[in-house]
Subunit: 276 residues, 2 copies
């Protein structure tokens, strides 16, 4: 009997420890939420900087595409690289939004719910525990009274024995009931605690999935880097297309003409040039 | 002869157009460099926010690992997710450094070199073009003089003919030489222009390679997400390990015990709870 009583106390203690852990966890969750919010706002300004960077990148690509020489292929590969990065940027923007809308905001709502639930669990358990203890105490007192009475009446008819046995059985049943109730309370607390992580992971997954979607862009980047490597492998040799620019000029109606500039601006440096 | 002259002018005009394109490109390159620098500084602050976020994430993971219930597996999966993100963060840090050290800073140096080279190309070409034109002019004048002389001496011995033919051949040769020289100048300008993109891409590649390596880290995230999905698929059911926590308590020396709290704090709400 004493062992069941101790076990009920231990179960109650375990329940309390779990609830206390949950209660002391809020600063950790709130810190996570605050740091995620800060990351979100940093990512937003980084995305703005990335957009401006990609605009500047596209201008370099356009310049290569539209130059007189044969850098059209290089320009188009750079444009593809720029477009891929715009696609990464779009996914990063999506990630940034999901981080707050899908994770931080719902998590903050949950934290409030968790506080209420843990308090309620604690309150309900305390009440139930007390009620059980009191009932057991009352029944135990009844038993003690019956035992005294039985001892006095031992010399009498002795018909208190079944009554005493039944009372003692009642106390024992109440203990077993309390043990089961305490186990259930511990299970509820464990479920609540574990459920928090399940909820958290449930909210986290879509965020990580958007992040994983960015991975898909790699293959494309690799292909473009490979193209650019081939296109620029010999910077000291003009590709056939550049020679074609010169040949095309011969057949054309000479839309170009050259006016020799006045020599004044370069006169100071003229001693340096000796190309004859 | 007139056609070769026109072609030389056209080649000179093409050369000038290429050099002018190069000269007008600096704002585009400088804008690229400025926007990359801004992106770099934004990324640096984002990395700080990411580090703080990952520290907070790790605390959530630790909490799951150390909780009384059976969330140790969840905690260890969250820790792995956190570690992967730290690895992504390290690569992002590397990317951020390479962006400036490997691309922006060397590019800025190159822009200064490019300015000098384009100016020198322009100056050398103008000088060479003028020199060729003057030489042709002088030779042409000689030819004209010889032609007049030859016309006057037509009635004489007529031995100026070979001299005149040779002078005219000289002019023609000079034109062909000038044409070749102009073609070479155009080729030099095209090589210089194309070389800029080759240099740019050469500087860009290591940056994109680090980026690709960073995205490569994301592959590992999928496995962790899959683990977390399995671990949390039924939040309303305690896993066997949680039941074990309760069973283990039975065999233990009952290090837990429960003190029923004073009823005062919950007394106001007591009418609501009716659990008996």
């Amino acid at each position: 009997m004493e062992s069941v009583e101790k076990e009920c106390g231990a179960l109650g203690g375990l329940f309390q420890a779990i609830v206390n852990d949950m209660k002391s966890s809020y600063p950790v969750w709130e810190d996570f939420s605050a740091k995620a919010t800060k990351l979100h706002s940093q990512l937003r300004t980084t995305i703005l900087a990335a957009v401006a960077f990609l605009d500047a990148f596209q201008k370099v690509a356009d310049m290569a595409t539209n130059s007189r020489g044969a850098t059209r292929d290089i320009g188009s590969a750079l444009t593809r690289m720029c477009m891929r990065h715009r696609s990464i940027e779009t996914k990063l923007r999506h990630f940034t939004n999901v981080l707050v809308e899908g994770l931080v905001t719902p998590l903050q709502d949950r934290i409030e719910e968790w506080k209420k639930t843990a308090n309620q669990l604690d309150k309900d358990h305390a009440k139930e525990y007390k009620r059980s203890r009191q009932e057991i105490k009352r029944k135990s007192l009844d038993t003690v009274k019956l035992q005294k009475k039985a001892r006095k009446e031992l010399l009498g008819r002795g018909n208190l024995r079944p009554q005493l046995d039944s009372a003692m059985q009642d106390v024992s049943d109440l203990y077993l009931l309390m043990e089961e109730t305490e186990k259930q309370a511990v299970r509820r607390a464990l479920l609540e605690e574990r459920g928090r992580y399940c909820t958290f992971i449930n909210l986290l997954q879509p965020v990580v999935n958007v992040e994983i979607a960015m991975l898909g862009e790699i293959t494309h980047l690799q292909a473009i880097v490979d193209d650019l490597t081939v296109l620029t492998e010999d910077p000291h040799k003009l590709p056939p297309a550049s020679e074609q620019v010169i040949r095309d000029l011969k057949g054309s109606d000479y839309s170009w003409s050259y006016q020799t500039p006045p020599s004044s601006p370069s006169s100071t440096n003229s001693r340096k040039s000796s190309m004859c």
